[in-house]
Amino acid sequence: MDPSLYNAWRFASLTLLPEWALVGLAGLLALALWWSFRGLKSEPKRARRLVLFSLRTLVALGIFALLLEPGLELRAETRVRARVALLFDTSKSMRLPATSGSPTSRIAELQRWLKSQLPAIQELATRFQVDVYGFDKELAPQDPQRLATLPDASALAQGPTTDIVSALQQAAQGGTGGRPLAGMLVVSDGTDHGDLEQGLSSSARKDLEKLPAPVFALPIGGEVQKDLAIDKLRVDDFAFVRSQVSVDVTLKARAMPSLDVPVVLRREGQVVAQKTVHLDGDGTAEVKLQFVPDRTGKFAFTVSVPVYEGEAVAENNQKSFALKIIRDRVRALLVVGRPSWDVRFLRQLLKKDPNVDLISFFILRTPGDDAHSTQDELSLIPFPTQEIFQEQLRTFDLVIFQNFNHRPYHMQMYLDGIASYVREGGAFAMIGGDQSFAAGDFADTPIESILPVQLPMHGVPPIDESPVSMKLTEAGRRHPITELLPGTAANEALWARLPKLPGLNVLGIPRSGARVLLSSNDDKPVLVVGEAGLGRSLALATDSSWMWSFLAAGQELGPRAYESFWHAAIRWLVRDPALTPMRLLAERQTFEPGENPVLEAQVRGNDYTPAAGAQLVVQLIPSEPGAQRQVMQGPTTGQDGSARIQLPPLAPGAYKVTATARKADGSTIAEAEEAFVVAPSSLELSDAAPRPDLLKQVAKATGGRVVSASDSIANLPWRDPERVEVGQRTTKPLWDTMSVLAVLCILVAIEWSLRRRWGYA
């Protein structure tokens, strides 16, 4: 054993006896002492009692010491340096100005400070192991020298979000060689969007208190900066057309003056709601913006507040969202020239349909009729032409004229409006009868221009009284309106079995793009559909479709054909998504800035078969007022009529995309729209005001404190809990010598001789 190998020692027990045995033996010795003490009670002289008891106690202790086998432990000890962790915020918020209006970014401020602290870090490294990290939501080792000298400071700050507590926990568990932690320094703007987003919660405080060392914090961005932000938007995933939609907006203000803030909601650049809310400097305010969407589709909406002078972040003064407006029920206006069986069965069908909200007006009495009564004896009401064709027109999804002649009601002034309503996305159906089409004086009116078919020339009889057998046309075989049964053959057979029609309204030539779905056996059009601008129209040249219900029921066919036909016709007219030839769907509602937004297109031709090889042309429309539209060539559809559209990375904001599918000859097959939003998923940039107060709370919870930029980090009150590590050790028994035994024997001998002398046995 070379004593030079050891630099420390300590006493140690070398006994192999188990603890319980030692305790037992100690008990026995104590019992023996007690008996001995009792035996000495008869001794009148106190000094003798004391001497004898002391000697016996010493002997007992000596025996116990022998049992413990005392020894010397020699140790080769080394001291381990503690660790200091320096955490630098590298999240995106550090790219923002350090102070209101400052040209210096927060990360540049950090870099400047780090540069000034490099000597202090070197000095610190002589006493501690210094671990340097960059952090956002993750922790990554960094080289302080490189950080301090990087030319483009903002290149450092790329982290998508900040989580200070998580970063501290990771740093505390990190390090090498199990070094103790002397402390941590966080250099950050405090814009936490992790556990501390809502402030220092009790659970976050507990997590911080569990950290093994104090945290010192250096706030970057100094004082609380002036900022107004749209903190939160709450809106349903979808809304119903013509039903009120509420958008709950939470505004957050920091260091703002007391002011009234106008909050504006825009749909693709157009203001749809606006409210003013009062804000008192700091805190939050909630405002509910409400509007009633007037059409279906998916739209991009933006809520914005003004950007006030000196605000830290301008980007958080607006927020976008995409909202799908769907139909609760189809609101249909049925205008009827006179009651008939056709009217009765259509009304019954529409009234029974829970998806249809039917508003109907029947002309029950014409000026030539004599009711033999006063007006008050009748249940009749005036025909409110102005109300329904002017004021309420755009609240309807579908307008149906059933055997209706407009002339007696002086409606010429409204016909233009009805045509415009259809061209702008409405739907119109004209059902035949002796007052319909040309017989209803619609030739050369705006209504004729929206019909899918021209009306016959003047002089041509408007009615053909010959009974008609119908047949499906080529287009009708594939069109959803005339698909009463799955399977072409079964469908055609069913149409052939339906009752003959007693006559037809004579129609002219179908318009370009219109489709004749049903015709008479001598090829006169019976059912024609087409597009009119953005809207759709249908012409049914008979007032006897009711026979497909009641008369068919008498022939044991049942009313199913009639119901299927009209349900499909209405769905097609109002562009039910299930019957739309082209669909465009964004992969997600919201894309990250820098990400390529992806949309899926599904194109079917007018015959409703997949449109393979269709060339897509994509128009990208930012919702920002005045922003430039981009038109780009999209992909070509595959055999299944589908295509994947990948857009270039886009700046934050709301976007509308219109995709047009075209044939090789350039003619349009179909068009579809979609809306989406580009916005960061985290609030890192939108709610990025510095939070020095939060950093102060973090430091305090761990026993640390906030430091100033001028403090040298070498002089911070780091803990210095060195760890002692024992590399080698050996033991040397102390009891195993003659002298120990001799002392014990001498003590026993003295006690024995004194007892003899004093007359004890």
Partner: protein, 256 residues
């Protein structure tokens, strides 16, 4: 018992003349689609099924004259199993005596007729409460619509406001205070008049009212005509007059 009216009033003569003209005019004005016009159908059976042959043409004329509904004076009689019955969603069964119990095929056809949208107007020409017609009709309906029973039609029912605002039923007599009816699928599919409604409308070959109307006289006849118009209007418009837009007007006029 009904009592023929002997005199020929000037007004009746003119009315009959107008009815004849209607038959001519209708062909011209209603060239498009026979099926679009109201044509009454009566149910043929082995009993007396056409005891008021002139009443329905008269009602067709009144409907045409008073409303925008186009009618034809033709009345067709069909057996229950005739497929052409389904060209006429309004079917009238009137008699002054017992009607025979229908066979299985007739029951099936009439059940189908009523289920898919047909309307059956039953009129007791004898106007005898608990009489042979009423008793046999109940058995007839029980066979067609098992479990269904004729119940009074509420005075608030749309049938009393489908064109005219009426307080209750009327006919040649006032034997029964209410129309009776059976609802199927939310609509009135069967209506029963115990007051000889068609009797109030019937004219003889000279154009005079065939029967005296008691106890209300001509005003009661007018109410009977109005009820007939309302019944026709109801079959073609269903509950149109219960749409929200009509309610304030009707409530206001009811209060007057």
């Amino acid at each position: 018992m009904t009592k023929p009216k002997a005199t020929l009033a000037r007004r009746t003569f003119l009315g009959t003349g107008a009815l004849s003209l209607l038959a001519l005019a209708a062909r011209k004005a209603l060239a498009f689609g026979e099926a679009a016009r109201l044509e009454f159908a009566i149910l043929r059976h082995s009993g007396r099924f056409d005891v008021r042959p002139d009443a329905l043409p008269r009602l067709a004329w009144e409907v045409s004259k008073r409303t925008s509904i186009e009618t034809t004076p033709v009345v067709r009689a069909y057996s229950a199993v005739d497929p052409d019955l389904f060209k006429h969603p309004l079917l009238v069964l009137a008699s002054d005596g017992e009607i025979p119990t229908p066979g299985d095929a007739e029951i099936a056809a009439l059940r189908r007729y009523l289920s898919y949208g047909g309307f059956l107007l039953l009129d007791d020409s004898s106007a005898t409460k608990g009489g042979a017609f009423e008793r046999s009709v109940k058995a007839f309906l029980a066979a067609i619509i098992p479990g269904a029973q004729l119940t009074p039609v509420a005075r608030t029912h749309v049938i009393y406001k489908s064109f005219y605002l009426l307080d209750g039923p009327s006919g040649r007599t006032n034997t029964m205070p209410d129309l009776l009816g059976i609802e199927l699928g939310g609509r009135l599919a069967v209506a029963y008049s115990g007051n000889d409604l068609l009797g109030a409308l019937a004219r003889d070959s000279l154009g005079t009212w065939e029967f005296e109307v008691t106890p209300g006289g001509e005003s009661q006849r007018e109410r009977a005509i109005r009820l007939g118009v309302n019944l026709v209007m109801y079959t073609m418009c269903l509950d149109y007059k219960e749409d929200q837009v009509h309610i304030p007007f009707i409530m206001k006029r009811r209060r007057i």
